[in-house]
Amino acid sequence: MKKVKLGLVLGLAVVLVAAFALPGCVPEAAPPVAPPVAPPVVPPPPAGPIKIGINLSLTGPKASFGVIDRNSLEIARAKFGVTEIGGRPIAFIVEDNRGDPSIAKSAEEKLATLDKVDLIIGGYSSACGVTQAAAANDLKVPHILVNASKDDITMANYEWVFSGARVPASHYADAMWSFVDEVLIPGGVKKVALFYEMTDWGTSSAKGLRPGFEKRGIELVYDSPYDSTATDFKPMLTAVKAAKPDMIVAVSYLMDAGLLARQAAELRVNVLCYMGQAGGYTMPEFLKLAGENVNYTMSTANWSRIPAWKGEIAGVKWTNQEYYDAYLETYNAEPDYHGSQGFAAWQIALDALLRVDAAGKPINRENIKAALEETKLMTTMGLIEHKEWTDDMGHHYYNQGLPLTYIVQWLNMKQEIIWPLEGKTADYVFPVPKYEER
Amino acid sequence: MLKVNDIDVYYGDVQALWDVSFEVNEGEIVALLGSNGAGKTTTLNTISGLLRPRKGHIEFLGQELSKMPAHKMASLGIAHVPEARRLFPEMTVKENLLMGSLMPEAKARREESMERVFTIFPVLKERAWQAAGTLSGGESQMLAVGRGIMACPKLMMMDEPSLGLAPFLVDEVFKVIEQINREGITILLVEQNVAHALKACTRAYVLEVGRITLQGTGEKLLRDEHVKEAYLGV
């Protein structure tokens, strides 16, 4: 007994010492007499690796997507095969922020000051995205945002934060409005039921949707947030059914989308059109959980493996389908648009690094930032440019790209692009058949 | 049958018993007397194994008890009828009685013992389906004793069976104790009701502040001046 305790205490002491020593073993080389208001950027040494910090949620409740992002970054790195630029090897330094904003800030600070990375890629949840972006801008490290969809992040004037492949939450529905005007309203849609999962993403998406319906004179007969971790959505769907809408617009996370489709079928909530807002409705898990009930569900989308988008970086050709296949082969799972954003993030980063090198400039934070400002690149998320622009809601964005959005419909248990018509892979089915008649 | 040799017992660092020794022979009723806080319940809990002596031995039918886990006592044939009844309040009277006969030998004679208890305490039969927590003081005491009988024990240790009972019930309880004893169960009785206990018992020990101060047959102690003064209020 005594020996166990002694061992425990000693072990603990070792861990504690390690906890002190490990982050501290690289002494901080702070500028000695620099004025504190604007610490100058320390140019990295000419030799040594090009360090890329990855700051994602790899554990905790939000781990699933952080892991997809990391895996996709690794696939992209393997795919393009660039292991060194200008004689300097490329090194990834991965930090897990557990989806907690204060840890995300800690990790960002560590990457920037202790590891002295040249570029940081990361940010799945909105909360982490906000604090990571702020920290990166403070520390003057170029940061490529991957997923975090909160509008505010790029509405702050952060010159060091780039958000090309990630879509602001209020723009997930962009492709939907033309479809509403040209197909749904002529088809008799007058009443809409809107429900959304109650995190940041769902709430901001709903906020972006409401004025659009209002402008078109479509009545919102049901409008409610819900908890995406619930087992049972029947009470909500029962209330929706009682409100007799012509169309359902749903902002759903991941598995709740599948449950909603299944339970809507069970309750026979018949509408002319069930429109999801990307998220769960476009992901492989949707099919796994809802089975044949996925059929006829529509969703806005900003990535699919179907579009024949392709390009070339560092002499390596790529297509969306190739990314999909590589992911499936390596990780035995299907990727989704979050992963595609991760893949695109490395495309953007690699392109910028190569351009810095091609211009004969040293690869450092300033030059990477300058290169990212010039980005104009075809990625798995479409053509990406980091621009400053204002949308029709009055949101003013900085360094924000706008990936193309379109509409998919599940037909015969497959996702088909139905809108815009020029990119379609199948004809849309509207109004959709009643559940009893399928 | 039961031999307690020189035990010292502590609660943490506080000593509660000093050199306590006594013995109980087969067929006897032995009373352990003393006022509140003298260490009577501590002694019983030590025999039951809930407390461990730091010094000394406890022997039951030639077996050393002081190192045996508490739940083994019942299987050796020791039934403990604890103070304040300690019934299972949310279980029915019947379930409480069944709990008394968990050991294989007692279990084999379950029906028989139950009948016996119901003959001794007819009121328990009427209340068989009532929750034990709803019984009156006298009834709970009967149930506690009945539960002890269900164990078909060799030795029954009773902790203050007359505590808080109306005088006529006290007489009743002591009658039952003597009756059980006549049926062949040895009894170790802890009491504050010294007069009654001394009349009923074969032999008695007096515990004062954790030490045995007097011992002898019931009649002898009844005549003892110290006992008269301190416990009988004469």
Binding site: K2, V4, K5, L6, L8, V9, L12, V15, L16, A18, A19, F20, L22, P23, G24, E28, A30, P36, V37, P39, L58, T59, G60, V94, E95, D96, R98, D100, P101, S102, I103, K105, S106, A107, E109, K110, A112, T113, L114, S126, A127, V130, T131, A134, D138, L139, K150, D152, A156, M198, T199, D200, G202, T203, S204, P225 | -
Partner: protein
Amino acid sequence: MAEIKTMAKKSWFLPAILGIVAIAFPPFLGGYFQHLLILMMMWITMATAWNLLGGYTGCVSFGHCVFFGLGAYGGGLLYLHWGISPWWGMIAGPLLAIIAGIPIGLVTFRLRGPYFALSMLALGETFRIVFTNWVSVLGGACGIVSSRTFGVEKLPYYYIALVIAALSVYVVYRLMHSKYGYYFVSIREDQDAAEGLGIPTTRYKMYALIPSALFTGLAGAVYMNYMAYIDPEVVFSLAGISIMMILAVMVGGAGTLGGPILGAVIFVLLNEGIRAAVGPISYLIFMVIACLLIMFLPDGIIGDWAKIKRAFRGKKPVYVGGE
């Protein structure tokens, strides 16, 4: 050796050394370490505040995130609705926490032990859900992005957090060396006996709750100002705030003055240290260490100091009655 011991026994010596180090050292550190120090001060404040109610008075609250969250939202709501600098949240936040604390105390102090703990847990969850849903007044799930008073600078936040942490420790120290402290501990040890002695237990629990809520709220306000972003998921988090506060106190030693301080320091360093060292399995290792600590040192490092010393001395007998 002996001299050091006698010096250490003087109560001002250790705090003075720590104070000088805490004031003089941080400007020479890098931003990352300053960040960790700010978190550390915040956690010291929270753990000390929790310890007053939980460790000394025995009301183990599983819902202190209520006060943390309200402390954070005080400034957030000022900024959201009226554009007032969240800096005023340093006053509004703790005030809000106390205002909410009084009715919460009146209701939940009727319960004891695990029931009190569970009722606080339920309240914490209720606050989280209400703050998530009530978009028009509380901002909803989107949270509040606010402005940063000191911009990139970290030192001002550090010194403010340091002052608050020191103040919380001082207040708890003074309380515990007054008759209040005596009553608090007697309520923890045996509430019935305390009531029997005529101590109005609910009132004294309230006396413990108010400073506890105040300082937890202040920590929340510091968080709000420093991070410049709050959302209900984060500030009303059961696993991230309420539980971690208890864990920090328990690791250090509940019902001691130094316990929460030590616990908070270990908590932040261990957490960040393991995370930086081993990556994604860090949380598992952290939890394993927590399990072992609770199993072998249930009263915390300070509470079980004698046990630790004994373990280090091996089989040597322990002399009772001092050396």
